[in-house]
């Protein structure tokens, strides 16, 4: 059985940052494995560990050379090998729309022919939350979005998943394989990479492919979305900020709570 995990390296923004044009300058950004994808990697590795027969976990990522550190981290956590896709045609514009991502990932995954594809519900930076399902449809796979419990018995049998709906409800659904599942945070406890894992990851296969290698025509990836503006949201806050040291602030706060009448006595 082969499980592919598509991951993204995402940027987190410092508390104090500035916007320059339609992007945030590098100095305010910190790169890491997308939180949702971390859960997807863990789910794949747990699936591998729980099964006697051979399960191969392949990490697939679109990203520049910088993202290899993040990809190696997924390998250190137990994935077997990785494919990184990059091309000058993907570097500009900076916002990769869903169609571009699914076209590129679908080409890479067709070659891998996995039984199962796991990915995060969304990337924490652009928050599209659409690539996994779009990818499934492009591959002709089944799918389920926002999965917080996954039970795979065998590639020849349907998997049972829980989809996290709103308001504390979960939908229990049976899904034929092959399928793409978008993984919600909290489905498992992502491990930290061990020192041995980090050492081993250095010698694991990390293949780098460009669009030619995937047989993708560069004209076919014309971005459909244009990032016209980026700005800090204007604050609509009318919160009264309580100043002063902790003791002073706590005193004032206690008075507000008492005035609200929620404390007995």
């Amino acid at each position: 059985m082969r499980v592919a995990v598509t991951v993204r390296e995402v940027a987190a923004v410092d508390d104090n940052f500035e916007v320059s044009g339609t992007s945030i300058p590098e100095q305010y950004l910190e790169y890491d494995l997308n939180e949702w994808d971390d859960y997807a990697v863990e789910e794949a590795v747990q699936l591998k560990e729980a099964r006697d027969e051979d399960v191969e976990v392949v990490v697939v990522a679109i990203g520049p050379e910088r993202s290899e550190e993040t990809i190696r981290m997924a390998l250190a956590k137990g994935a077997d090998r990785a494919v990184r896709i990059w091309d000058d045609a993907l570097a500009d514009p900076p916002l990769l729309d869903v169609r571009t991502q699914r076209t590129v990932l679908a080409a890479a995954l067709k070659a891998e022919d996995p039984d199962l594809v796991l990915t995060g519900v969304q990337a924490s930076d652009d928050a599209f939350g659409a690539t996994g399902v779009a990818l499934a449809h492009a591959l002709g796979y089944e799918w389920a979005a926002v999965v917080n419990d996954l039970d795979v018995v065998d590639p020849s049998e349907p998997a049972t998943v829980h989809r996290e709906l709103e308001g504390g409800l979960e939908e229990v659904t049976e899904v034929n394989l092959p399928a793409v599942f978008t993984i919600q945070t909290g489905i498992n406890e992502p491990r930290y990479a061990s020192l041995m894992g980090i050492r081993q990851a250095q010698s694991k296969e990390l293949q780098v492919l460009d669009l030619d290698a995937l047989g993708i025509d560069r004209d076919a990836i014309t971005p459909a979305l244009e990032l016209e503006a980026m700005y800090k949201p204007t604050s609509e806050s009318d919160a009264e900020m309580i100043e002063g040291g902790p003791d002073e602030a706590a005193g004032e706060l206690a008075e507000i709570v008492r005035d609200a009448g929620v404390i007995e006595g």
Binding site: A11, V13, V19, D97, V98, R99, R102, V121, S124, D125, A127, A130, G132, V133, A134, H137, W143, A144, V146, P158, L165, E166, G167, G168, L169, E170, E171, V172, T173, V175, N176, A179, G186, E189, P223, A224, L225, E226, L227, E228, M230, Y231, K232, P233, S235, E236, S237, A239, M241, I242, P246, D247, A249, A250, L253, V257, A260, V262, I263, E264
Partner: protein, 320 residues
């Protein structure tokens, strides 16, 4: 080619509130495109649902009756059929958990671009969507460079429409998906338990800022001292530090207490959706730009590890 097709959301035989907000967004959009607004209802007793959804501004409602359980294959098939029939310019869907399950597949099937989680949309010959990035720290204006698009919206940003209307209701002609790739077996309520935080009058809620599980004791002590109910934002429940019936937010409980103290909670949009109706909201956070301050009545820009012990003492307790 200037029409808008909105996709209704329903659950357990009732339209979800977001559907009425979606209609408002659709009405605003067709006012700009100059087209008419269509609505599609997929699954369940679609014709009865259509009666409920017959609001002013909706020109036609397309219905596909099926069993009540959600199935994305049916949505894709129904929407494709209506798109082929009425040739709308935009498909508008809610950015709900089910919307996330079918909308990207619809976009792929039609080979249309998709924009998700729009908090505002405008049309001036092409569509521009306003959406957030980097955990709500920035907003972006994204222009769709093609004439058509699938757009999912954060429906809470629009008011629900209330005026009754008189749309035509027509069944969808389609060879209903013969072999569905997935089947709903059950719906479970995980928020259940002996405790219902939705009934609490005073909530002390804790988020990622608490850093370590051991530190939870501090917030528990505050709750004990004041008689408040302890709740949490998603990361705390994801980590398994508190059970899921303590979770406030879109995927957890919606609460409306008299007082809600948010401690170390930055205020992800999903969390705000679950608590912004509280009468008095107090936020304690180290980041002065944290979105939680947008809904707070009172804020302390400070370290919870300094403020909370002082607060416990104010109420006559002893910090751990």
């Amino acid at each position: 080619m200037s029409d808008v097709l909105a996709v209704a959301d329903h659950r357990e035989g009732e339209p979800r509130d977001g559907s009425y907000r979606l209609i408002t967004a659709g009405r605003e959009l067709v006012a700009e495109t100059g087209g008419t607004l269509h609505l599609v209802v997929v699954g369940g007793d679609a014709d009865r649902l259509a009666e409920d959804l017959a609001r002013a501004g909706v020109d036609r409602i397309h219905t596909l009756r099926h069993e009540q359980a959600f199935n994305h294959d049916l949505y894709v098939e129904a929407i494709e059929a209506v798109v082929a029939d009425v040739e709308p310019q935009f498909v508008l869907a809610p950015n709900s958990v089910n919307g996330m399950d079918y909308a990207p597949a619809v976009a792929t099937a039609l080979d249309w671009p998709i924009v998700t989680d729009a908090i505002d949309i405008a049309y001036d010959g092409s569509l521009t969507a306003t959406r957030e990035m980097y955990g709500s720290k920035v907003q972006t204006d994204v222009r769709v460079s093609e004439p058509v698009a699938v757009v999912t919206i954060r429906d809470s940003e629009w008011e629900p429409t209330e005026d009754a209307g008189d749309p035509t209701i027509t069944p969808i002609e389609t060879a209903e998906a013969e072999s569905l790739g997935s089947r709903v077996l059950d719906i479970e309520d995980t928020g259940a338990g002996d405790l219902d935080i939705a009934e609490a009058e005073f909530i002390v809620s804790v988020g990622r800022g608490i850093e370590e599980e051991e530190n939870l004791e501090l917030i528990e002590r505050l709750a004990e001292t004041t008689g408040a109910t302890l709740a949490a934002s998603r990361p705390i429940v994801d980590n398994g530090w508190l059970p899921s019936n303590r979770q406030v937010g879109q995927s957890g409980k919606t609460v409306e207490p008299d007082v809600y103290i948010a401690i170390g909670i930055s205020g992800a949009v999903q969390h705000l959706a679950g608590m912004k109706q509280a009468d008095t909201i107090i936020a304690i956070n180290t980041d002065p730009d944290a979105p939680i301050f947008e809904v707070a009545d009172y804020g302390i820009n400070g370290d919870l590890f300094d403020v909370v012990p002082a607060l416990i003492e104010e109420f006559g307790g002893t910090p751990p």
